[in-house]
């Protein structure tokens, strides 16, 4: 699939021009994970954002340090992002993320590359940050339905 078409199908990049999508594409690095591979680990530092291009991942959380069994809180598939919290607030990873399908393909964006891009193009920076906020809001709404 055309890489620009892939980015267009991801909400994170909704509202960007073709030129802006090109500049995003230049800072994306593709990685492929097998089922069971760890993508992030709760409590660890992280400076990467992951965009799921294909496959599924599970998001697991331990609620306390004494909790030995992490609980799967949600599965995320095509077009979803993970790692955005640490990208925005520079905190440690809030959850463990593990691939659950073979050939889970993700696009990885480094924080420094992302920050530079946002600083150099404020429309792009505003649009992507707005979309991250909308994505976090959507995840919160999903969580509300999960706990009904």
């Amino acid at each position: 699939m055309d890489p620009i078409a892939v980015l267009k199908s991801v909400e994170l990049f909704e509202g960007l021009s073709e030129d802006e999508l090109d500049s995003v594409l230049r800072i994306c690095h593709q990685r492929t994970f097998k089922a069971g591979d760890l993508i992030t680990e709760q409590g660890h530092p992280g400076d990467e954002l992951f965009v799921i291009q294909d496959g599924f991942v599970e998001v697991l959380r331990k609620d306390s340090t004494t909790d030995s069994t992490p609980k799967t809180v949600v599965n995320l598939g095509r077009g979803q992002i993970v790692g955005e919290m640490a990208l925005v607030d520079r905190g440690r990873r809030s959850a463990t993320v593990r691939a659950i399908s073979d050939e889970t393909i993700v696009q990885v964006i480094q924080r420094d590359d992302f920050d530079r891009l946002c600083d150099s193009n404020h429309h792009l920076g505003y649009t992507v940050m707005r979309n991250i906020a909308a994505d976090l809001s959507f995840k919160l709404r999903h969580s509300h339905f999960s706990h009904r």
Binding site: E14, N75, R141, H142, S146
Partner: protein, 67 residues
């Protein structure tokens, strides 16, 4: 660009954590979907927030399909 449906799935019964994924077709009650290799039937579809561009935001309630 074709419409993209960003869908929040919750499975009745509490055994599945649910999921969020993009689909190219709009889910409808009675449709069947596959999550984690298991089949589920769509019970209810709710529009969560207004669309933005080609993105539509839906919440879908699923129930397991009996074998």
């Amino acid at each position: 660009m074709a419409k993209v449906y960003k869908v929040s799935y919750v499975v009745l019964g509490g055994k599945h954590p649910g999921g969020i994924t993009n689909t190219e077709s709009e889910p409808k009650p009675g449709d069947q979907v596959t999550l984690d290799k298991n089949r589920y039937s769509v019970v209810e579809v709710i529009s969560l927030v207004p669309p933005r561009g080609e993105f539509h935001y839906l919440h879908v309630t699923l129930k397991p399909v009996e074998a």
